[in-house]
């Protein structure tokens, strides 16, 4: 029975690669990523230009700057690295559901059953190339190694000329000529082995197992087993995260909105690309702000429908930040996307044209931002007779019929334009019948319709009694009135207060 086949995806110079993913404009510069503060900061990784100038890991920043005056230095950024690692995992998950997160730019993928998707003489090589291409598309220059054990795959992924495939059962032979440092032994074991004159993995593997164990202990025994190509560690698949993260720590705190949105847009674009690659969209967008000098703020925007339109999401963020400013300089941020399946619809060939669900979701989100959530939706009547009442529900139109029909001839019904809120009226009445009406104006600047005139015909009263068992009962006597100057109105007298109101115009 064949053993498992594992691919290791390795992102070399991970802190640097993660940083350059967030700031791709720096790729062609001499850039180093440092760890530590001030002049004590030490170089962790550098780009080719920096390396060619002589900058090496471990150099202090002043040493590095002396070697390369135009050096661009960036501190290690946990947010960038977390987002980079997540992006790497998502690339792997596009190929297989069994993916292990080994951290620091390393991911293991279970290749079992994938070979049938790659119909070539060497399907594993083809798989490796596909993994590299997919990662490259996500802005991650990775190396891939494929073997039967995690260790051999990891060592293979560290070699140039990627992808490197180690045939099954040949792990020990593959590892033998490689230097011992590839196994990353502990410092004391490494020095002992050096004193013994052991230089390559093969030299180490040839030593007797029992004697290695008696001299180097448990750690040495395990290292010896790995040198012989034996790696019993199974692949531990991860649970997919419920939320997508993307963010970064800023080089200096931002105090105005525009620069923040400029940086936020790039992060949103990366977030939406990741959502798209997973076939998901954003149902809820969160923003965590790290404030200067300390403190943080969390906010979230709910979307009417899942979307991954960057412009819309950015507009919503802008409106939210304008409405509730953070109140302190922003030193870093994390965007969180709660994913959901985007809406899908089957378009009919002969029926009415349906709206694109993705476009509709985007439009609804923008309308929410423009008008507010209580002013966009599908109207529904409310149980009762008070005409000013209504409810709004989420707009999710059903699919169109398969065949287009012609509308039936209309019945020519007269509709009422509801006045919300009702207009207060002064009414002169004779025998309880209105004969003249006039709008009560409390504020001259208020832009409300005005109703004024002698009543030509009045029809009523029509009683409305509703909700007498509630705290807001309605008792109204309705009249339909036509004014001498024109216009048909629906007015009522509140039975509780005796006040008059107009709540509709027949139009």
């Amino acid at each position: 029975m064949p053993g498992p086949r594992i691919a290791c995806i390795h992102l070399p110079l991970f802190p640097l690669a993660a940083r350059l993913r967030s700031e791709p404009e720096l790729i062609r510069e001499a850039v180093v990523v440092t760890e530590g503060n001030g002049n004590a900061a030490r170089v962790v990784a550098g780009t080719r230009l920096a390396r060619e100038a002589g900058v090496k890991p471990g150099h202090t920043l002043p040493q590095a700057r002396a070697l390369c005056p135009k050096l661009v230095a960036r501190p290690r950024d946990e947010e960038c690295e977390r987002a980079g690692q997540e992006a790497l995992m998502e690339v792997a998950e596009a190929f297989s559901p069994r993916v292990e997160d080994a951290g620091e730019g390393v991911t293991y993928v279970d290749l079992e059953g994938l070979e049938r998707h790659f119909r070539s003489p060497s399907p594993e090589l083809e798989m490796g190339r596909s993994l590299i291409a997919a990662a490259d598309k996500a802005g991650l220059p990775v190396r891939v190694g494929i073997a039967s054990s995690k260790l051999a795959a990891r060592v293979a992924a560290g070699l140039p000329d990627s992808p490197v495939v180690v045939p099954e059962g040949e792990e020990a032979a593959f590892l033998a000529p490689l230097p011992l440092a590839k196994l990353s032994p502990e410092v004391d074991i490494a020095s002992t082995l050096e004193q013994w004159g052991v230089r390559s993995i093969g030299d180490f593997a040839r030593l007797p197992k029992a004697r290695v164990a008696s001299r180097l202990g448990r750690t040495g025994r395990e290292l010896h087993a790995t040198a012989r190509g034996i790696d019993p560690r199974p692949l531990i698949p991860r649970e997919p995260p419920p939320v997508f993260h993307e963010g970064m720590n800023l080089e200096w705190p931002l105090v105005s909105l525009e620069p923040f949105l400029f940086v936020g847009r790039a992060a949103l674009e990366r977030l939406c690309e990741r959502l798209e690659s997973a076939g998901l969209a954003c149902q809820r967008l969160g923003l965590e702000l790290r404030l200067e000098p300390d403190g943080h703020q969390t906010r979230a925007v709910d979307l009417p429908a899942p979307t991954r339109d960057v412009k819309t999401l950015l507009t919503l963020l802008r409106l939210d930040l304008e409405e509730k400013p953070p109140g302190a300089p922003v030193a870093g941020f994390t965007l969180l996307a709660w994913p959901d399946r985007p809406r899908e619809a089957q378009l009919a060939l002969y029926g009415p044209a349906a709206l694109s669900p993705d476009k509709l979701a985007t439009t609804l989100a923008r309308l929410f931002a423009l008008l507010g959530p209580d002013r966009v939706g599908s109207p529904r009547p409310v149980d009762g007779h008070r005409p000013e009442r209504f409810s709004l529900v989420e707009y999710t139109p059903p699919p169109p019929p398969e065949v287009r029909r012609e509308p039936r001839a209309g019945r020519g019904l007269l509709a009422v334009r509801v006045l919300r809120p009702p207009l207060g009226l002064e009414v002169i009445s004779e025998s309880e019948k209105p004969v003249e009406i006039r709008t009560v104006v409390h504020d001259e600047s208020e832009k409300r319709p005005r109703v004024e005139g002698r009543v030509k015909v009045a029809s009523g009263p029509w009683g409305l009694e509703e909700g007498w068992w509630t705290e807001e009962p309605a008792g109204r006597d309705y009249w339909d009135v036509e004014l001498a100057g024109g216009g048909i109105y629906r007015i009522y007298r509140d039975c509780a207060t005796g006040e008059w109101f107009a709540d509709g115009i027949y139009d």
Binding site: T396, R411, L414, S459, G463
Partner: protein
């Protein structure tokens, strides 16, 4: 644009002249029985059928006979139609009827309701499928224009923008905004109906209709009942047509009990005495519970 080819049957659509048909197509058709020959179409014939179908769908029927007659079929797609009328001119009824006609046959439609005057129960009584109706309630004209442009761009085939009654919040708006709106309607081949108390869209409007103030129709002398209203729609502007054509717009309250949502129950003048048996009263229609 979705094209309804089913409405035209293949039998209605003529074939090309035999001289224009390719020899292979002629041979294929001659090998088939008479009834099946028309089921084989060349690409050129299909292209012609599609174009003809598109031409017949250049209008959006509103199911308001007066409006459909005046506009020779319905609201023209890709144009801004401005309907001007004062209070009680039948303007709002026309807008709701157009929305009801569209949604009742499965189209989606949007109402940008600056006047905030929609009664969902009344719209439902008019036949609107509220599930397909997107209701937007902007605060001012600027928001209303932006919202209308957004829904047009998202592909809504019918958008109605009702500015309510004067004073309109936001005045007349900027002419450039109306031109943008008309261009959005043209770009997405949508019917855009703007209902307004006075002319607002200037040169952006492809069609301008004016609704006169309606006269109320009352039934009965001693206890008059509002039974409807009648108005006139006049064509004031349409490219390629002479203005001045008029159609009568008749609107009734009909049998629908709730255009106004108010039950048509005559208020009792005298206090109701307690009765053991409520059935007679319920049967008389006076009690709803």
């Amino acid at each position: 644009m979705a094209v309804n080819l089913q409405r035209r049957t293949l039998e209605d659509s003529p074939l090309e002249e035999p001289g224009l048909q390719s020899p292979a197509l002629l041979r294929l058709r001659s090998a088939l029985p008479q009834g099946f020959q028309r089921h084989i179409r060349s690409a050129r014939e299909l292209d012609r059928d599609l174009r003809e179908a598109q031409e017949t769908e250049a209008t959006f029927r509103t199911a308001v006979p007066a409006l459909d007659r005046l506009l020779e079929g319905g609201l023209p797609r890709g144009q801004l139609v401005e309907l001007v009328g004062s209070r009680t001119s039948g303007r709002f009824s026309t807008v709701l009827a157009a929305l009801a006609a569209a949604t009742s046959v499965g189209e989606v439609a949007a109402l940008v309701d600056l006047g905030d005057g929609l009664d969902p129960a009344a719209a439902e009584a008019l036949g609107a499928d509220l599930r397909r109706l997107l209701w937007l309630r902007p605060h001012n004209l600027k928001q209303a224009l932006a919202a209308a442009e957004m829904v047009l761009a998202s592909g809504f085939p019918l958008v109605a923008l009702d500015l309510g009654t004067p004073p309109v919040r936001g005045g007349r708006g900027v002419e450039a905004a109306w031109l943008r709106l008309a261009r959005a309607a043209r770009a997405h081949n949508a019917a855009l109906l703007v209902s307004t108390p006075y002319r607002v869209s200037g040169t952006a409007a492809g069609v301008v209709l004016k609704a006169e103030r309606a006269r109320a129709a009352w039934q009965g002398e001693s206890l008059p009942l509002l039974s409807g209203a009648s108005s006139h729609l006049q064509l004031e502007k349409q490219r390629g047509r002479l203005p001045g054509q008029t159609e009568e717009l008749k609107l009734t309250l009909g049998e629908v009990p709730v255009p106004s949502s108010v039950p048509r129950v005559k208020k009792r003048e005298e206090p109701v005495e307690w009765v053991e048996d409520w059935e007679p009263l319920r049967a008389a229609g006076g009690i709803r519970y």
